[in-house]
Amino acid sequence: MPIVELNGRPYHVDDNGFLQDPQIWNDDVARDFATTEGIAEMTDEHWKLVRYLREYYLQFGIAPMVRKLCKETGLKLARVYELFPSGPANGACKVAGLPKPTGCV
C-alpha cells in the first residue's frame, strides 16, 4: 500500500492515490488531498461539492450520480471541472475522501 506525504502528513493511498481509510477523513485531510489536484485554496464552492459527496457517501456507501451532484449543488458540470480539473469522480471524490468509484463508470 503506497504512502504519500501531503503537507507533511503521511497517508495510506490506493494505486490511484485515493485515501485508503475513508473513516479518518476531516477538513484537514480534504485540504491536503486538494494539493494533489492543484487546488491552492478550497473555496466555498469546493466545500459545497465535497460536503455533498461526503453526505451522500455516508448514506449510500458510494458516490452519487454526477447529474445528481450537479442538480443538488446547483453547479454546472463545466464548473465542477473548473473546480476539480480531473473531474467529479477522480478529483472531487478524492478530496472528499471517498474510495475510487468502481465498476463500469
Binding site: 456507501g61 445528481k68 465498476g103
Partner: protein, 532 residues
C-alpha cells in the same frame, strides 16, 4: 532504436522493465494542429518497480514472494493449473479451441498485422500477439505433453522461473481479447483465448486477479448487487431521479417499471450507465414505453447490473453471475432477458452462458440492438431524423459485432435516424477494438490509464479522427456512437486524454439516445452537448 525484446527477457531476475515504451516511438496521430503538450511528458513517467516489471505499468498487485519456498509453491501452482487447463474435466468450456491454438500455429505472423496493440506500440515485440502465446505454447509442450529433447528441438523451450510466471501473468493483461487476430488467422488460432486462459489460470489457481475485476468487481457485484457498489436502495433512488429528469426533459411522463412479474422483457443494463450515462437507461425507458413494450427492471442482487467480469478472467465467477441473472428472470417469469448496451455482458449471458445454463434456466436472451431495430424499423415510433443533423460515426463493440455477428441491426437504426451517418474504416467484423476491451476501461492505476489512452486506444482514436476528417473544426458537433458501456468509458477517456472534444468537437454516446433525439413526440434537444 530500442532493443528487440526476447522470450528469455521475461525470466530476467533483475527489477528492470523488460520493455520501455517511449511516446516518441508510437505511430504519429494524424490530427491537425499541435497535440496537447501534456502528451509527450505524461507517460511513461510513473515507472513502477514493484515485483518483476514488464513495461512501466502494472495491473496485477500481489505481494512479492519473499522466500524460495514461496516462489516454488507459486510456480508449482502455475504448472499444475497449466495441466488442468488441458483436461476435459477442468476446462470443458474452452478445451477444444485451446488445443487447436496450441497445436496448429504455423508462425506465419498474419495475426501481428491484425493487432492494434502491437501496431500502435510501434511494433514492440512484447505485444506481438504470438509473443505470449509462444511462451505459453512452449510451456505446454514441455510440461503438459511430456517434453523431452525432440520436443525441445521442435518447439523450443523457456525456463520456468517465478519472474517468468509473474511477468506472463501481467502480459495476459496487454491484450484486449478482441480476437481480431483469431479472425485474421488462416487456421483460427486464437491468441485472445490464450491470454484469457492465462488470466484464468492466475485467478482460479493462484488467486491473482486485478482488483478492479475481482475484489471490487465480480465479488462486489455478488455481495451488494453491482460492481458499482450500488445496492438496491441506491439503484432505486437513482432510477427515480432519472425518471424525473427524463420526464422534465422530454415532456413525456417516464416511469421505470420495477420487479413486474410476468413482463415480456427483463431489461438489464450495465449499472455503470445509471451512474455515469443516465441518459442511456433514460432513453430506453422513453423508447420502450412509447413502443408499448411490456418490460421491467429487477432490483434483485445483480438483477440491475448486467456486468459479468468473470468473462474476462475467471470461469467460476462467470458461471456464478450468469446463473444469478438467469435465476432472476426465472423468478420474475419474464419471456426473455434483453441485455442493454454492454458488449461483454452480451458475450457472457448471450453466448458463453449457453454452455452453462440448462433446464428452465434456458430463458431466451436477446441483444438490445435487435430490439431497438425491431422498434425503429417496425415503425413503432414517430421519427424526425432531421433532429439528428450532425455527423455520426459508429464504433463496433467486439463482443457484439465480431463475436456475435450483430452487425446490421444498429446500422439499420442509424440509417433511419441519422441522415449524416458515416462508417469508420475498417468497420463491422473487421473493426478495431476501442482499446478498453476485456476490462481495461475500468482499470487505471499505476499509469495503466495512460497506457490504454496512448497505446491500446490509439488505433481507434485515429479511426475516429479519420471518419470526421472532412469536418474536424470544433464548431461542427460530431457524435461517436458506441453502444457498449466499456467502449464508451474508454472512448470518453481517449477523447479526454487527447483533448479531442475541445480541439475537434467530437462527443460520444450510445445508440438509444440518438433514437430519442429523433422522436417527434418528445421535446427536441435530448442530446446535450456538454462534456461528461
Amino acid at each position: 532504436m530500442r532493443p528487440r525484446t526476447k522470450f528469455s527477457d521475461l525470466a530476467r531476475a533483475d527489477r528492470e522493465p523488460v520493455a520501455r515504451i517511449d511516446p516518441a516511438d508510437l505511430p504519429p496521430l494524424s490530427s491537425p494542429g499541435p497535440p496537447p503538450a501534456k502528451l509527450a511528458a505524461a507517460w511513461p513517467a510513473r515507472m513502477d518497480a514493484a515485483g518483476y516489471p514488464l513495461d512501466g505499468t502494472r495491473v496485477l498487485a500481489f505481494p512479492d514472494p519473499a522466500t524460495k519456498a514461496e516462489r516454488d509453491a507459486l510456480v508449482g501452482a502455475f504448472l499444475s493449473g497449466l495441466e488442468k487447463l488441458f483436461s476435459r474435466e477442468n476446462n470443458w468450456t474452452f478445451l477444444q479451441p485451446l488445443l487447436l491454438s496450441m497445436e496448429h500455429c504455423a508462425r506465419c505472423q498474419t495475426c501481428s498485422d491484425a493487432c492494434h496493440v502491437f501496431e500502435s506500440s510501434g511494433r514492440e515485440e512484447l505485444y506481438r500477439p504470438t509473443f505470449r502465446s509462444e511462451i505459453f505454447r512452449r510451456l505446454y509442450f514441455e510440461h503438459v505433453k511430456g517434453g523431452g529433447l525432440v520436443s525441445a528441438w521442435q518447439h523450443g523451450r523457456v525456463e520456468v522461473t517465478w519472474p517468468l510466471v509473474a511477468r506472463l501473468g501481467e502480459l495476459a493483461y496487454r491484450c484486449n481479447l478482441c480476437r481480431r487476430c483469431a479472425q485474421a488467422c488462416p487456421i483460427g488460432v486464437d491468441n485472445g483465448l490464450i491470454a484469457h486462459e492465462i488470466r484464468k489460470l492466475f485467478s482460479q489457481e493462484l488467486g491473482i486477479a486485478p482488483t478492479e475485476l475481482h475484489a471490487s468487481g465480480s465479488m462486489l457485484q455478488m455481495k451488494v448487487g453491482s460492481s458499482t457498489g450500488m445496492n438496491a436502495a441506491a439503484v432505486r433512488d437513482n432510477a427515480s431521479f432519472i425518471d424525473e429528469e427524463m420526464t422534465e426533459k422530454t415532456g413525456v411522463a417516464v416511469e421505470t417499471p420495477w420487479d413486474v412479474e410476468g413482463a415480456d422483457v427483463l431489461l438489464i443494463h450495465n449499472a455503470g450507465e445509471i451512474l455515469s450515462w443516465p441518459e442511456n437507461p433514460g432513453a430506453f425507458a422513453v423508447i420502450l414505453n412509447a413502443a408499448g413494450i411490456s418490460w421491467t427492471m429487477s432490483s434483485d442482487i445483480a438483477g440491475y447490473d448486467s456486468v459479468n467480469y468473470g468473462v474476462w478472467y475467471d470461469d467460476a465467477q462467470l458461471a456464478r453471475v450468469a446463473r444469478m441473472h438467469a435465476e432472476i428472470a426465472k423468478a420474475l417469469k419474464v419471456k426473455k432477458i434483453v441485455v442493454g448496451e454492454c458488449g461483454h455482458a452480451h458475450k457472457a449471458l448471450l453466448v458463453v452462458a449457453d454452455r452453462l445454463l440448462d433446464g428452465d434456466l434456458r430463458i431466451p436472451r436477446e441483444s438490445a440492438l435487435t430490439l431497438l431495430r425491431d422498434i425503429v424499423a417496425g415503425g413503432r415510433l414517430r421519427l424526425d431524423p432531421s433532429r439528428n443533423d450532425f455527423p455520426v460515426t459508429l464504433h463496433d463493440p467486439c463482443n457484439v459485432v465480431r463475436l456475435m455477428g450483430v452487425v446490421e441491426p444498429q446500422r439499420e437504426v442509424l440509417r433511419l435516424v441519422c441522415p449524416r451517418f458515416r462508417e469508420m474504416t475498417p468497420h463491422g467484423v473487421d473493426n478495431y477494438c476501442c482499446g478498453g476491451g476485456s476490462g481495461f476501461a475500468v482499470m487505471g492505476g499505476n499509469g495503466f490509464q495512460d497506457w490504454r489512452s496512448q497505446v491500446a486506444g490509439r488505433r481507434k482514436l485515429q479511426q475516429v479522427l479519420d471518419a470526421f476528417s472532412d469536418c474536424l473544426e470544433p464548431a461542427v458537433r460530431k457524435y461517436v456512437c458506441a453502444p457498449c458501456s466499456n467502449c464508451k468509458g474508454q472512448i470518453r477517456d481517449l477523447l479526454a486524454f487527447h483533448d479531442v472534444w475541445r480541439r475537434h468537437g467530437i462527443m460520444y454516446g450510445g445508440l438509444a439516445e440518438l433514437v430519442v433525439n429523433a422522436m417527434k413526440d418528445v421535446n427536441p434537444g435530448f442530446i446535450e452537448w456538454e462534456w461528461r
